[in-house]
């Protein structure tokens, strides 16, 4: 995994991006939402930011076992 595709800027080097967080599950418990992670899984849904580019927030779907990017979309709203 060396590049990420920004829907606005195109294919860019990984160093321009910053990983922000793994999206937590939809648990009702606030403790679980903040601290607990989904169990090991092939698909990881994450928020990244194109920090040294358009500064847009991205929703990235990725396989953490192979490093393959499955989908990158621009988030409609700035993430909290």
């Amino acid at each position: 995994m060396s590049h990420l595709h920004c829907p606005f800027c195109g294919e860019r080097e990984l160093r321009e991006f910053e990983f922000r967080k793994t999206l937590p599950g939809t648990s009702a418990s606030p403790v679980a939402r903040v601290y607990l992670r989904q169990e090991e899984q092939d698909i990881s849904i994450e928020h990244w930011q194109h920090l040294e580019g358009c500064r847009g927030w991205l929703r990235v779907v990725r396989n953490p076992f192979t490093g393959r990017i499955l989908q990158t979309t621009l988030l409609p709203e700035p993430a909290p």
């Binding site: 080097e13 990984l14 910053e18 990983f19 169990e39 090991e40």
Partner: protein, 427 residues
């Protein structure tokens, strides 16, 4: 340490005898055991923590039948992938008492195991690049000294005397203004630690089974009764998971989400050179990253830095981080600029939400979890093994590891050493 006459005790005399016996005295360090159908304790993962727990269970608590199951080879995981630094320079009392207990055990570990782990107290130096850094390091040093741990705050002149190669007087983009030194910190040989514990545990009757992956937990009447493995079913009274880097899989197996994310941490080593650096240097440059550098006994400059920055299991390591680490090393020691990088590798780190480990029961009364070591796993091995063995043997956690309960995330008693909030990547 041996109660098993088959394991020869290493000494100068053994060495001499082996010389005249044309080396035919040298045997494999531990025997290949066959998997039995039933054990008192089954430990999953033959890394540092699993083997150390097995050793202390057998030696100190006289647990009879112990098996350590390993999916690859002894020492294939993080115990053979780390940068071998041992230290106890932590700010929080819970952390520095625990790591200090570990450091004291490192000092006598070679004797305890009858195996040379090459513990080298060459000092660990945390560099300060600003007055704010000095304040921060002074606070940490004072906290350590209050706990009876050695710490010295060095000015640039004192640092120059301690480690001339660093040349703090030279102009730099980020000038070095001082440092925090822990003289008893240093390095140990990581492979020797895995082999030493494996040999000592096997000498006390522990079965070490390689290429045996645990695939499931068998539960009956609210208790775990055994594990399914690729080599067959094994009944067990108590089960310990010490699967650093793969703890999320344990969570999946048991259906319990854990406060852990798996990230990559990479390290690299240069071609060997003559003695250059006499200590371990930790260099954190503001807002950018981190480089720590030490010279191995073979002569290579061993470097590491920050996490890759996103969850991954690939064990590859990204180019960007490698570049950052090398850039930091060159800023620190411009004289190494013409050296070539010989090898680069990455390990999977279980990063917890507060940067501190988890030593607790997991889901069932007789299932134990030793996980979430973040960067601290290697240096923690001796203390973790001793304390966790006592926990598993007696059923109650020693005071030393009580703060590392899983429930601290519910109750808010976090051990947030770096004050970074619930973001594993920033710990």
């Amino acid at each position: 340490m041996t109660n098993n006459s088959k394991t020869p005790r290493y000494s100068a005399l053994t060495l001499l005898r082996a010389r005249f016996a044309r080396n035919s005295l040298w045997q494999p360090l531990w025997g290949r055991a066959a998997l039995q159908p039933q054990y008192d304790v089954v430990i999953v993962g033959a890394g540092g923590h699993g083997l150390a727990t097995a050793f202390h269970l057998a030696r100190d608590h006289h647990v009879g039948r112990i098996a350590v199951l390993e999916k690859d080879l002894v020492g294939y995981g993080n115990v053979g992938r780390n940068t071998t630094v041992v230290r106890s320079n932590y700010l929080l009392p819970e952390n520095h008492y625990f790591y200090e207990d570990s450091l004291r055990r490192w000092e006598t570990l070679s004797t305890d195991l009858n195996f040379n782990v090459m513990y080298s107290p060459r000092g660990v130096v945390d560099l300060a690049l600003s007055d704010d850094d000095m304040t921060r390091l002074a606070r940490r040093g004072n906290a350590m000294r209050l706990a009876g741990i050695d710490a010295e705050l060095l000015t640039a002149t004192e640092l120059r005397r301690f480690c001339p190669e660093l040349a703090p007087q030279n102009p730099r983009r980020f000038p070095i203004v001082g440092a925090l030194l822990q003289r008893r910190g240093g390095t140990a040989r990581h492979d020797a630690v895995a082999w030493g514990y494996a040999r000592a545990a096997a000498a006390h009757g522990v079965d070490i089974i390689e290429h045996c992956e645990v695939t499931g937990l068998d539960v009956a009447a609210g208790r775990a009764v055994g594990v399914h493995t690729t080599a067959g079913y094994v009944k067990a009274e108590r089960i310990v998971f010490a699967t650093a880097g793969h703890t999320a899989r344990v969570g999946t197996m048991l259906g319990i989400p854990l406060p852990i994310e798996t990230h990559l941490l990479q390290a690299m080593v240069s071609e060997p050179v003559k003695p250059l650096l006499n200590t371990v240097v930790v260099f954190i440059f503001p807002g950018h990253g981190e480089t720590y550098i030490t010279q191995s006994d073979r002569g290579g400059l061993l470097m590491g830095g920050h996490l890759d920055g996103f969850p991954s299991y690939t064990r590859e390591g990204c180019w960007e981080r490698m570049e950052d680490v090398v850039a930091g090393a060159l800023d620190l020691l411009p004289q190494i600029g013409s050296l070539r990088i010989l090898r680069q590798w990455a390990g999977t780190n279980d990063m917890t939400m507060d940067g501190s480990p988890i030593l607790d029961r997991l889901g069932y009364d007789n299932v134990f979890l030793n996980a979430g070591w973040c960067y601290g796993g290697f240096k923690a091995i001796p203390a973790s093994g001793a304390a966790f063995a006592r926990f598993v043997a007696t059923g109650s956690a020693p005071e030393l590891i009580q703060p590392f309960k899983l429930s601290r995330f519910d109750s808010g008693h976090l051990l947030d050493e770096s004050g970074a909030g619930p973001f594993p990547v920033r710990q």
